[in-house]
């Protein structure tokens, strides 16, 4: 990273970030001194052994938790400020759709709450740096919930209730909902984790399509994409779409991400930051290619080193965790 890159030019900047949970006099350090920078337009996957604090990391970035130490900045501001301006979309493992609302009503929910922030759209006033004007064709008008449902292939189901639909369809609706106000940063916490393997795989390509345009069109949005490339994820003018994606699945991480960040077992710290240099758009055939497989085996290797022996974990935890 060039030395002149300031925090406000980064989409996400984590410095010395730690989180310790206290419960009945016992403490548990989930994250320890994490530094991480995410540039605008990057897709960063976070992977690590279970219980390593991946979700905690995402919740800190999303402002659902506050750090015990260190800081989180989203475009140079606190997560709370970024969320007041509705810049951050969240997709959880559980779709969390409201059963008394139709799909359309669920996707419209983000537009109904916190209205004060919505129309004072900060996108135009923000310093856009070198990215200014690159998204000239993108409208900063938030897309309509109906368009978003069409985007995830659920146009004809807008009047249905969530419980009338399959798990995959529900998660697609949750994805549409997270895009309702055109966020520039999407936080995804194992979004496909509760789906069956086949649906899961289909959803990966669905997400790729959303991120990089119609499959096979040959107009990758990032890596110098032309401003006329079809942009299926309606975002704000002047913003590149950035994703922070927590997953358990190595192939999922390699297929989707520009960078894969490997966390250690608890307390989670960054042990590897691997750039995935595979061209976009990424077709399904990619998974059979040697490059793809060399990335997955490297990651598998890195993760295996992280798998702790049970007593090693215990020996390590108290040293860091018991301060209070």
């Amino acid at each position: 990273m060039s030395p002149d890159t300031t925090a406000s030019q980064l989409c996400v900047s984590l410095r010395n970030l730690s989180k310790t949970f206290y419960n009945n006099g016992r403490s548990l350090t989930a994250l320890l001194e994490v530094d991480l920078d995410v540039r605008p337009g990057e897709f960063v996957a976070i992977i690590g052994p279970s219980g390593c604090g991946k979700s905690t990391l995402l919740r800190l970035v999303g402002g659902l938790l506050s750090p015990s130490q260190g800081r989180v900045l989203i475009r140079g501001r606190s997560p709370q400020d970024a969320q007041k301006e509705k810049e951050v979309g969240f997709v959880f493992q559980d779709p969390g759709l409201l059963p008394w609302r139709t799909l359309l009503g669920n996707v419209a929910l983000p537009l109904e709450v916190n209205r004060r922030a919505r129309r004072s759209d900060p996108a135009d006033a923000m310093p856009l740096g070198k990215h200014a004007g690159r998204r000239g064709t993108a409208s900063h008008q938030a897309p309509s919930p109906r368009d978003l449902l069409a985007l995830v292939g659920l146009a004809e189901f807008e009047g249905y209730y969530p419980w009338q639909l399959s798990g995959g369809m529900q998660q697609r609706a949750a994805l549409a909902r997270s895009l309702a106000f055109g966020p520039s940063l999407l936080l995804m916490d194992e979004p496909f984790g509760s789906l069956d393997e086949l649906t899961r795989e289909a959803m990966r390509y669905e997400l790729l399509r959303l991120l990089q345009g119609a499959g096979g069109e040959g107009h990758p949005i990032r890596h110098g994409g032309s401003p006329t490339a079809w942009e299926p994820w309606p975002g704000r003018a002047g913003y590149e779409r950035t994703v922070l994606f927590v997953t358990h699945s190595i192939p999922e991480a390699v297929l989707l991400a520009d960078r894969v960040v490997v966390l250690s077992s608890r307390p989670g710290r960054v042990v590897a930051d691997l750039a995935i240099d595979l061209p976009r758009p990424r077709p399904p055939s990619l998974e059979e290619e040697r490059d793809f497989q060399s990335y997955t085996s490297r990651l598998r290797h890195l993760l295996r080193e992280q798998a702790p022996e049970p007593h090693a974990l215990e020996a390590r935890t108290p040293g860091h965790a018991v301060h209070g």
Partner: protein, 269 residues
């Protein structure tokens, strides 16, 4: 039931479960008619004196003899029960809202609510009548007291019932506490509230009638008490019958409202 993933929407939710309204009423009405017939037969065959147990035919005859009397008494009790139900539910829901948002408040107030709950209504009713007179007010209060506890408990549980995921979502949108309440907590609490309403609506009728028993200018409870003092069993049974119809009718109204509002809930599918 919320069965496994099915991409094909289930049809026919409006049709409910098969038969029409008449069809669904047929069975319970048949059972009821059978019970009345059996009762009639036993009274006639064993020659039970009318001051002990009147035959159903005698009860119905009494009812038809003077329908205005029972209607008027029924309306008095209905009014007291409904006012008490509304008052008790409103206070309980307001308290539940406060208590669902604050554990200390819950810990402080719940013992008080339980105290109200365990105090026998037959002990409180005469005191209120002595204090507040023979008018409707003590009856409304008793009905409200009986309504209060189920709605309070249902309200607290219901307002706390939204899944963590949905709460996280609204928090991540920086929704205000009011928005979280109106968009998430209130709708999530409805299944619990309606379960409580079903219990409370019948209790409110009982409460009003019991309070009337301790001294009243009108109402079914008073009718029952008057006929009891001169062993006029047909009148007493007729008044009890009207009371029962009142309770069933109110319960049915709540159940219909529940089906309408909670179409999305497991209990309705």
């Amino acid at each position: 039931m919320r069965t496994g993933p099915s991409p094909i929407p289930e049809e026919g939710l409006e049709e409910g479960s098969g038969p029409t309204l008449v069809g669904r009423l047929l069975v319970p009405l048949g059972v009821l008619a059978g019970a009345f017939l059996l009762w009639e037969a036993v009274v006639r065959l064993r020659d039970v004196p009318i001051y002990l147990v009147p035959a159903p035919s005698a009860v119905f005859r009494r009812l038809l003899e003077e329908p205005g009397y029972f209607l008027k008494a029924g309306l008095v009790t209905l009014q007291e029960a409904l006012l008490g139900f509304a008052l008790g539910s409103a206070v309980a829901f307001l308290l539940a809202t406060a208590m669902a948002h604050s554990r200390p408040l819950e810990r402080g107030l719940l013992p008080l609510a339980i105290l109200v709950k365990v105090t026998p209504i037959v002990a409180v009713a005469p005191v209120l009548t002595v204090l507040l007179g023979f008018g409707p007010l003590p009856k409304v209060i008793i009905a409200a007291l009986l309504t209060f506890f189920p709605v309070l408990v249902g309200g607290i549980t219901g307002l706390r019932s939204p899944p963590a995921g949905a709460l996280d979502l609204l928090r991540s949108l920086r929704a205000s506490p009011w928005e979280v309440f109106i968009k998430l907590r209130l709708p999530s609490s409805l299944p619990y509230l309606f379960a409580a309403f079903k219990v409370s609506i019948t209790l409110s009728v009982i409460g009003a009638a019991v309070a009337e028993w301790t001294g009243a200018a009108g109402g079914l409870g008073r009718a029952i008490w008057l006929s009891y003092t001169d062993l006029n069993m047909p009148t007493l049974f007729a008044a009890v019958l009207v009371l029962a119809v009142l309770g069933i009718g109110l319960y049915a109204l709540v159940a219909v409202a529940e089906r309408r509002l909670l179409f999305w809930h497991e209990s309705a599918l």
